[in-house]
């Protein structure tokens, strides 16, 4: 049976790449651009729009998908309003309002989409939630001292995804966290993501620890595990 994926954030180069790769794999693709991104015109994909700052908007997108499909197999979240690093450090004057906006967009935006699409995902076979993020969100490996908006807005999503994992894994959900390559050219930024998102990982039932799906990990474009 054809599988359905919703890509929330298909309007940037990484998201467009994701949509094309899912189409190649034969998925039915709903490509939602985020407010401010240029409308997605990806041949073969169903266009949607989501305002990252609005729960109503995410709910409307989910309702539009429900009109066409009874279930969704996979939800991919690709929210990044800080693609350009902020050069300020704590010694400069931080843009606090900008940082609140970045938090609402990068961390809360994906959670609003999960909230909206969860009922469709629960009815689906795939039950997988995938997020595109950045290794800059890792407290355990960043050596940076600038770009507070990017780092501080994205790290809390790691916490929220862990909590969702704890709550939803027992219901059969699986999760993927993917750090895109910050050095890659725009059209290659989402490269390897779909391979990572769609391939099952070992899921032996014998014991809790005998499965790679029973823990939440973050991996970069090379598949290398990034600490939290």
């Amino acid at each position: 049976m054809e599988k359905t994926v919703v890509i929330a954030g298909a309007g940037d180069p990484a998201g467009a790449r994701l949509a094309k790769d899912f189409l190649k794999k034969g998925y039915k693709v709903f490509a939602a651009c985020l407010t401010g991104q240029k409308p997605c015109q990806i041949e073969g994909a169903q266009p949607l729009e989501i305002d990252p700052l609005s729960q109503d908007s995410a709910d409307r997108a989910a309702a539009a998908v429900r009109e066409q499909c009874r279930t969704v197999d996979m939800l991919v979240l690709n929210y990044d309003c800080c693609p350009v690093r902020d050069a300020k450090s704590i010694l400069d004057h931080p843009d606090y309002d900008g940082m609140i906006h970045a938090y609402e967009y990068n961390s809360i935006g994906p959670l609003r989409a999960i909230e909206a699409f969860l009922p469709l995902l629960k009815e689906g076979e795939g039950k997988r939630i995938c997020a595109v993020t950045s290794s800059a969100a890792s407290n355990n490996c960043t050596r940076d001292f600038t770009d507070f908006p990017g780092h501080v807005s994205k790290a809390p999503l790691n916490m929220a995804m862990n909590q969702l994992f704890n709550g939803l894994r027992p219901e059969g959900f699986t999760f993927r966290m993917y750090c895109k390559d910050p050095e890659a050219a725009p059209d290659r930024a989402g490269e390897f993501a779909v391979e990572y998102f769609t391939r099952n990982r070992s899921n032996e039932p014998e014991s809790y620890k005998h499965s790679d799906e029973n823990r939440l990990v973050m991996r970069d474009w090379m598949g290398i595990e990034i600490p939290w």
């Binding site: 729960q55 959670l111 780092h151 809390p156 916490m159 704890n166 939290w228």
Partner: protein, 248 residues
């Protein structure tokens, strides 16, 4: 005399931290957020010289800058900065219910951005100190690698954000001679008093005593950790009230 600034000193851990430092002979600038609560005024009667009460709302930059100006006038130099103020948020998802994300930015603004406002505002007053210590009350609730809760929590997310902001600050300021303390107070009993006339502080929630430690117990552990020098200042480590280290 050494000078310490404490945010959120109105009650509970912050108030007890102020007492700890006053007992040790420090000059304390106690950040006050709850203007009607008299606990700091009562402490001021006991320490009229050593305690200064400073209006401070860490969610507003102009308030923190005004507080820094007051401290600059009264003392000129800050040796230790303690970010204790915290917002808890009234909403984490409940099982089976929809999560309301509309107020998630509130604890983020207080806990994470508040720490940035405090450091950014007071750092100019610390450059002549020979202590230069930045202390933060965080929580295991913000530790991603051992996250155990099963519902999304705005409080946990805000503490993760705080820990990340501290990481960035540490990477820059530690080589400049600043030292850091990152503290998990344990599961502390706290009393919700906000204004005069509120019932005598009760540490019970729905008739049950919640938490493992009293505020004065964790404040005593915190003060010791904050004051004591370490010969391993080149690491940022979250340490709890019993001395155990946590990952991030």
């Amino acid at each position: 005399m050494k000078n310490v600034v404490i945010s959120g000193a109105d009650r509970n851990i912050g108030l007890e931290l102020a007492k700890q430092f006053l007992n040790r002979g420090w000059r304390v600038f106690a950040g006050r957020f709850l203007m009607e609560l008299p606990l700091l005024d009562e402490l001021k009667e006991k320490y009229p010289e050593a305690l200064s009460i400073v209006p401070m709302d860490v969610s507003k930059e102009e308030s923190v800058l005004a507080a820094a100006e007051q401290v600059a006038k009264e003392a000129g130099r800050v040796d230790m900065l303690i970010h204790n103020a915290a917002g808890f948020g009234d909403h984490s998802g409940q099982k089976g219910e929809r999560t309301d994300y509309s107020t998630f930015a509130v604890p983020y603004n207080i806990n994470a951005l508040g720490a940035m406002r405090l450091v950014n505002g007071f750092l100019p007053l610390m450059k002549d100190s020979d202590i230069k210590r930045l202390c933060f009350v965080s929580s295991e609730a913000g530790v991603v690698s051992v996250a155990h809760r099963t519902e999304v929590s705005s409080y946990c997310m805000s503490k993760t954000a705080l820990n990340m902001a501290l990481r960035l600050m540490f990477n820059q300021l530690q080589p400049m001679g600043y030292t850091f303390r990152l503290y998990h107070p344990g599961w502390v009993r706290s009393a919700r008093v906000e204004k005069p006339g509120d019932p005598v502080p009760t540490f019970e929630v729905d008739g049950k005593l919640m938490g493992k430690f009293w505020p004065w117990e964790t404040a005593a552990s915190a003060a010791e950790q904050f004051i004591e020098d370490r010969d391993w200042e080149d690491r940022l480590v979250l340490i709890d009230n019993e001395g155990a280290a946590w990952p991030f």
